[in-house]
């Protein structure tokens, strides 16, 4: 059976040309504008209130567009971005350590293992400095030095300190800044907030995105909302693995439904497995908790040199410890990028050196740092992370090393967008983790917050105007249009279908099985045989789901199980595409490690001659072979080399 077909037409990212440092400025100057009077006549739907959604919605409303903004949480402030801990990058060079826009650009392209677009990444680095200014003005209480100026720390994969932070709650503070900006627009009446609403379909009229179908999660009513453009800022899809560091309700439904309506899906298999998370403790486990990458600034990672060493970590002398990252990667040591650190931990554990009851963990040790700086200094930097750790594990990390293991954390893949952040459906824009754009095959720490806010504050508000300039004469979108009729009907039928199975197996049980399959075959390392097997298992699980899932209650009330069932149904379809993408990409790059393609010492082996492209998949029907569209990646400034952190 053919698994997919390949389009012979190349996909165009519509990136500007010319000197890279001028591209964004020149592009902005060439974008068409919409006058204030016309903005008042244009409606924009923003789905999502994380960093990307809140910043986009607030900025668009400030410009004068009529904004409707949706989230499924009961308050916009609870979007998953709130949980980001470590920090946000910006090329400010406040530390005078040689940072620059170019260096941030270069680090990000290299960190992404040369699978991102140069033009996009350069723009990201360029606007990064403005983000910090904007956030400070909003009152985001970043960490400061005694002189009153902003403090920075360093993160993995780089050799400068460019990460701005607010203790271990950077995401919370940045999100509250954006959320407050949005609430201000809600108070002005320029934005209307629909919390506890879930988008369940995209409405496309004459080839353009013109609205959504949303379910009011409190009453269960389906609603039609029309707009001249739709912006999805709906986050990542790491929860396809069931266990991940994402919030429990994070899901892929919005982007998957848009994909089914024609938006191509870019690099679905690029998943980030974060090296430092609290290990799984039992089969009841509902989620995994991240221990921020910033801890690797001061914590040292090790395992005992002896297999199955029964001693407590504090009793194992220095010379019997294997600081394997420092040993393998002396230049970057504990601060190698995430994909490298994760694989190295897996390698040690698979080889039998793992620690803790499950033997699937390594130590992250602060004793040297505490000796060097004192407990108080460590507490000031990481206090809340240590508290979280202790609450979960009942162990005190000031006294004994943390036990950590990699976990699914972030998805670099997402809906394909062009340089203007527009998907292959005209009028459908995608920002933040939901798009595939800037991180290539591996995201550097503290760059997701940067990207979400760059998209929302400084990119989309310009690029969307260029699209809407053609729409100034388009009247309000009429939600009685047959496309709304059809979309609402299909959403309704699906809900009825989920409710009518009346099986015996709870959604969670099936989701967990799907997650385990993905972790085993499409996780930290992959091979052709396993991926083919996974495709079969996914089909079987999906069949089981539709035969035996238990969804209690009705569609006309608050019904969490019904919400979950719809999301998991979409995860099955997405899981299949992830495996297919992983199977087709016969190389290793970043977080995508194909066992067949590695160097002698076990490092990822990229195959630039064959795979230097973005894989954008077109939907052709349920379980039908999708079409692969390729967007070639051209590197003019960062010449692809073997990524070395030695």
């Amino acid at each position: 059976m053919t698994l997919y077909s390949i389009s012979d037409k190349k996909l165009d990212g519509k990136c500007p040309t010319g000197p890279i440092e001028k591209r964004w400025t020149q592009h902005k100057a060439s974008l068409r504008l919409v006058s204030p009077a016309n903005k008042r006549r244009l409606d924009v739907i923003v789905v999502g209130t994380g960093l990307a959604g809140s910043s986009a919605a607030a900025s668009l409303a400030e410009l004068g567009y009529n904004v409707k903004v949706f989230c499924y949480q009961d308050s916009a402030r609870r979007a998953h971005s709130i949980a980001a801990q470590g920090g946000i990058n910006a090329a400010k060079n406040y530390m005078n350590d040689g940072d620059s826009v170019f260096r941030l650009f270069y680090d990000t392209v290299k960190g992404g293992d040369y699978r991102a677009r140069e033009s996009n990444v350069y723009r990201l680095a360029e606007v990064s400095a403005n983000i910090i200014d904007q956030c400070v003005a909003q009152g985001v209480p970043f960490a400061r030095e005694y002189g009153g100026y902003l403090d920075n720390r360093s993160f993995g994969g780089v050799q400068v300190s460019r990460t701005f932070y607010a203790k271990g709650q950077t995401g919370q503070q940045l999100l509250l800044g954006a959320y407050q900006a949005l609430m201000r627009q809600v108070a002005r009446g320029q934005a209307v907030l629909y919390s506890s609403h879930e988008m369940l379909d995209l409405v496309v009229i004459d080839g353009k995105a013109r609205g959504i179908i949303a379910r009011n999660l409190i009453t269960g009513e389906l609603e039609r909302h029309g707009a001249h453009a739709v912006v999805l800022c709906t986050g990542g899809y790491g929860n396809v693995f069931f266990l991940s560091t994402n919030a429990k309700n994070s899901n892929a439904t919005a982007i998957w439904r848009a994909h089914r309506r024609g938006a191509f899906f870019g690099n679905p298999c690029f998943t980030q497995i974060h090296p430092t998370c609290i290990p799984v403790s039992g089969d009841y486990q509902s989620k995994l908790t991240l221990m921020s990458e910033s801890l690797r600034n001061d914590g040292r990672i090790w395992v005992p040199k002896k297999k199955d060493d029964p001693r407590k970590p504090t009793e194992i002398p220095e010379e019997e410890r294997d600081y394997y990252l420092e040993r393998r990667y002396p230049a970057f040591g504990n601060l190698v990028p995430r994909d490298v650190a994760s694989r190295a931990a897996k390698e040690r554990c698979d080889a039998g050196y793992g620690v803790g009851p499950s033997k699937m963990a390594v130590y992250l040790d602060f004793s040297d740092a505490i000796k060097r700086m004192g407990r108080a200094a460590i507490e000031a930097k990481y206090g809340n992370l240590f508290e979280i750790y202790q609450l979960i594990t009942d162990e005190n990390p000031y006294e004994t090393p943390m036990r950590i293991y990699p976990a699914v954390h972030y998805t670099m893949g997402g809906l394909w967008v062009d340089y203007n952040l527009m998907s292959t459906i005209p009028g459908l824009f995608v920002c933040g983790e939901a798009n595939f754009s800037d991180h290539g095959a591996n995201r550097l720490g503290a760059s997701a917050l940067m990207q979400g806010l760059a998209d929302g504050y400084f990119v989309l508000p310009y690029t969307i105007g260029d699209y809407l300039a053609d729409d100034i004469r388009t009247p309000k979108i009429d939600t009685r249009h047959e496309a709304f009729e059809e979309a609402e009907k299909s959403v309704n039928e699906r809900i009825e279908k989920l409710l009518s199975v009346r099986g015996k197996t709870p959604v969670d049980v099936l989701h967990r099985k799907l997650g385990l399959t993905m972790w085993d075959y499409c996780g930290m390392s992959r091979n052709a045989e396993g991926l083919k097997k996974a495709l079969q298992i996914i089909d079987d699980l999906e069949d089981e789901f539709w035969k035996d899932v238990a969804v209690p209650g009705t569609g006309k009330e608050w019904n969490r199980e019904l919400e979950k069932a719809g999301r998991v149904a979409d995860f099955f379809e997405l899981a299949r595409l992830m495996c297919l993408d992983a199977l087709h990409r016969e190389e290793s790059c970043g977080g995508h490690f194909r066992e067949e393609y590695q160097t002698e010492d076990g490092e990822a082996l990229r195959r630039d001659d064959l795979f230097s492209y973005v894989a954008a998949w077109e939907y052709t029907g349920h379980r039908q072979p999708p079409v692969l569209h390729k967007e070639d990646l051209i590197f003019e400034y960062c010449k692809p080399t073997v990524r070395s952190y030695k």
Binding site: G139, M183, L391, E561
Partner: protein, 247 residues
């Protein structure tokens, strides 16, 4: 281990509601409290019964979604922890655990243990922000801020909007929540410009939403999972007086 639960069940806002008993067996002490409820719910679902409605999202103490009144205390027995951070090791084998929703007029029950806290969003809309449009900001280091002010502002800003302070207060006052925002912004130079309107408007919105007044019992601080200090209420009071005299 095994526990006996008395759980508040209420179909919707109109339903008067009642306690229903459940027994949960085979609990691992390392399970979180919410995972214990997941286990119970999956059992109920398999048996064709209606699962207990409760809400959660991050499950690591930062989003403020979870919030159960456990054995008479918001977020349960642990100091400085949210419901999702409570583990079963904090209960005794064979213990009876009473679980209720937040109870406050301004937080109507949606179903079982889920309440509507949109009033908090409206309080923020009344003035919990600094009016700066995207693109207007000067360089981040143009406004140096003494570390001490920045860190006090930060401490206040760590409020997660969970509503435990309201649930803990006999007047169902949202004063700690409001004060946290007033202090976060008011302690920063950027936030001084709108300080006067902010405190007046936020307080008046709090009243409109049906929250009670503050009588300084301090129950909120004791139960706040983020340790938001009463000092913030003192700060708010000073802001309020200043706002009144400057009339």
């Amino acid at each position: 281990m095994k526990v006996y639960l008395k759980v508040w069940r209420q179909r919707n806002a109109q339903d008067p509601g009642r306690f229903v008993d459940y027994t949960v067996d085979g609990i691992n002490p390392d399970m979180s409290f919410l995972e214990m409820l997941d286990v119970l719910n999956n059992r109920l679902i398999s048996q064709g019964e209606d699962p207990i409605a409760f809400d959660s999202d991050c499950r690591e103490g930062i989003c403020g979604t979870c919030g159960l009144y456990i054995n008479g205390r918001p977020h349960g027995p642990l100091p400085r922890a949210t419901t999702c951070q409570v583990h079963m090791r904090h209960f005794k084998d064979g213990e009876t655990i009473v679980i209720e929703p937040w109870r406050a007029k301004a937080f109507p029950v949606i179903k079982d243990l889920v309440v509507d806290r949109s009033a908090f969003d409206r309080i923020i809309q009344a003035g919990g922000y600094i009016s700066v449009n995207t693109g207007q900001a000067p360089d981040g280091n143009a406004i140096p801020i003494p570390k001490e002010d920045a860190s006090k502002a930060f401490d206040a800003a760590t409020c997660i909007g969970c509503g435990a302070c309201v649930a803990a207060c006999k007047n169902a006052s949202a004063m700690l929540f409001v004060a946290a925002k007033v202090a976060h912004l008011g302690r920063l130079p950027q936030g001084r410009i709108e300080a006067r309107e902010r405190v007046l408007n936020m307080l008046s919105q709090m009243e409109k939403e049906g929250f009670g007044g503050c009588t300084n019992t301090g129950a909120c601080e004791a139960e706040c999972p983020k340790g938001i200090s009463l000092e913030n209420i003192a700060f708010l009071n000073r802001e309020f007086i200043k706002a009144k005299i400057s009339f």
